[in-house]
Symmetry: D2
Subunit: 271 residues, 4 copies
């Protein structure tokens, strides 16, 4: 004879991001949440009776729904709201909420850098071919304003709506060719990164492609030894999560960041 | 002066799965697709003119839309359909489609094992406490029939619809306690895995919780030395991808597998 | 005032592999081990007194040292030997040993497949260029005999010794060009994989490069539609772990598999 | 008939770190290098003739050997030295060297933070049990002085030598229990991280255990609302790479960082 021992259920790896709109500057939260419940659900296991099994999909939705009002820089505070929400159901005996927030560094009123690991890169070829390239990988940037995407062609598979001002995030990989070697390669590397960051935050764009071109232009203007630069700009999508389905107003500030699939933009800018 | 060099855009890591319904047995495809286009989109970069920039979101949708009719075990054939679809737009000069299919092993008419790496595990404690546990990690199973989820409680955050027959996939992690050590631990490990696999495919379930309980029962029935078994069963969600948005019939056979978030079910079954 | 609460120390992710030499066929074990100890080491934390702190490096060495005699297909048995070894030291109050074994499928007397996830791949290009490639990723093979590496050039940085018979393991990535499309691409994919596997196990080689060339030849001989095949064969190194340092005989059957760095061999074979 | 097409060989993911000793402050480099060669090695593939096949093990050794003199903050410069070294062998027609440097932020004369992604964490439990924990994950710290490990017990498996001053690096995971909630949890989180960082760099230690205890003490002293803190401190080993094997002096400044195995230290400090 088998008997049921300890059991719990929940939703893990729920990614939620939120823009905290300010008069002068925006704040940004980027949090991964998990929920685990314990309670009177033995019959679900032994008899297939789901009458007390809150679906894990509902847990996910609840996180987005409550984030609009309650997700602030008080991470523990948001966790308490979630835990108490689930505990309010009589059959739930214990709720555990885990939260992990990616740390972003403010660059401008609406711009942030970080949330990842940046690496300096280089590639040296000698022999039949020859060349020296500098590079950067994992330079993650995000802005809450100053990016549009509209005027695109449509067909029967088009769902995307036009946006005049959207959140834009990418993890920059850039490789540039040195026509001649600069005296101080470390300082030059810093200057290339700085040029890209400053351009990204200062210049509004009509697409990732447009943003990338502006960044490449900025690098060529700043560093005379570079003859061309190639950028790869994966679009780190932050999808709208339609809160109106929950009979709520949707203020357009709560997002579902997704890792896959991602828009994959690549371009080269030459002198 | 900057000029635009080579450039391309696309969508990467689009995961699509499909059930090929058969009279006797189902086939299953689990494919990750990427699309990269090149063409007359220079103005998008230099002037922000998006009139020829097919959105990468549309590329994603197209993959799901065309999968319903065209995704078969001829992987290259599906790639050709996709490449030619995108090439049919005049401004596109070249289309590259990459595909990678996870390989599943058939177990039953509607059941598959694999798509991952299975590991045998053990945990030995000696001293103040003592105990020996056997385990398995990464035992991935999927069935195209024989799983339901309905009768669950609803609230303002419920979106999930009830299903009487759904695709179910999980990566089993199991740990069991040996009350006494079997003579041949390797053979016993094989017997535990076999019991779980056979139970998973033979027994219809009303939930992941219910399926797990049945599996635990089967193990305790098969191996007398085991006193209790704990299962962790992350739900590898295969979301419906609503094809009716594309003015198509939706046959309920095309899915979007997602890695995150996931339902996280854990339970212990004791003798 | 601060006081010390629970504390433990150990070594995690110790990878050890072993060939079990047989008269007719070899067995192979590929295990990752962790050790955690608890005991009378409070003074190490509060006063920096290390007199009872078994170095984690010693834990690692012990795993390799005891593996030569005690690592068998009884995974739990090896764990017990390790736990009791550490517990025999008076200051240790509890020892916990975790083990995870990669599962390999036997192919021949000295050959194994598996230990990873195989994926079928394809790449379709249409437009200015055109071509269709089939591929496979993650086809992991290992043989305990039939691979040599000797006669190589030496310089001041050479440490490697010549070997006439060594363990060889690799994760095959292969891409092939179809000059014309076969009638059944799925069957053809299976035939390419089978040709590579059979060649790898049947043909002794003088290097990874040599092994790869033989595999490419076998594929071209088996499938007439393929015009060329490119192989990438990362050498999954299994380093000797010198047991003579422990005043033991070294039978040459215990290895330290390493993930990084790895030898990276790539070649194309054409008709 | 098969013929050999393009082919190359090399070593990938060679991790090398180096301390640049200064009078006042140290610099630190943490680089991953790959080498790929092309040349006259066709016979190695077709006939098993290794007379021109530089072993990839030798490539690895060369990177460590040349790093002692040539690895500086001029990353491209080190790449050129490596590429030209390999190209100097007559049979090598082309050498490609790839380099990626983890970026560390200076904290003190001998201390660095970074090389990874830090996340703020929290865990809320409500119901039968209740509690609120704050946490941090991925807080990576490294110091080039101020850490010892000696006086440990030895046995037949001991290889490790005693060190009075070694490089110490870890990725801090910390979880603390709030006895009462602070008014500003975000500020408190920053204070906990700052206390650990300051303690790590200011206080010499006799072991990771000792270092961890000092850090826990510092947090309890700084934040009155915290009743206990648990630390997990994986030792990010930087192994000595014995250069004397190459008939060179070894200055003790070149290291081989390894990901696995790692020393795994955990402790709790209470008020």
């Amino acid at each position: 004879m088998a008997t049921l021992g300890p059991h719990r259920w929940g939703k893990s790896e729920v990614r939620v991001s939120k823009i905290h709109r300010g008069e002068v500057a925006d704040e940004f939260s980027d949090v991964t949440v998990s929920v685990l419940l314990e309670g009177d659900v033995a019959a679900a296991h032994t008899e297939g009776d789901n009458s007390e099994v809150i679906p894990t999909d509902t847990m996910r939705n609840t996180i987005y729904g409550l984030a609009q009002e309650h997700l602030t820089k008080d991470l523990e505070g948001f966790g308490v709201v979630l835990a108490e929400h689930f505990l309010s159901r009589e059959s739930v005996g214990q709720a555990t909420v885990g939260l992990a927030e990616r740390v972003w560094q403010r660059e401008t009123a609406n711009g942030f850098v970080g949330g990842g690991s940046v690496r300096r890169a280089a590639r040296i070829v000698r022999g039949r071919e020859t060349g020296t390239r500098g590079g950067v990988e994992g330079l993650v940037v995000l802005k809450t304003r100053g990016s549009a995407f509209s005027g695109f062609p449509t067909d029967e598979f088009t769902i995307l709506t036009e946006k005049e001002d959207r959140l834009l995030a990418t993890s920059i990989t850039a490789w540039w060719e040195y026509a001649e070697m600069p005296g101080d390669t470390a300082a030059t590397w810093g200057m290339v990164c700085r040029s890209m960051i400053d351009s990204f935050f200062a210049e509004p764009s009509a697409s990732v492609q447009h943003q990338g071109y502006l960044m490449g232009e900025a690098v060529l203007a700043a560093v005379s030894e570079i003859s061309e630069i190639s950028l790869r700009l994966p679009n780190q999508h932050h999808l709208d999560f339609d809160l109106t389905r929950f009979d709520m107003e949707d203020h357009g500030i709560v997002f579902q960041p997704v890792t896959e699939p991602y828009g994959d933009i690549a371009l080269t800018i030459r002198r």
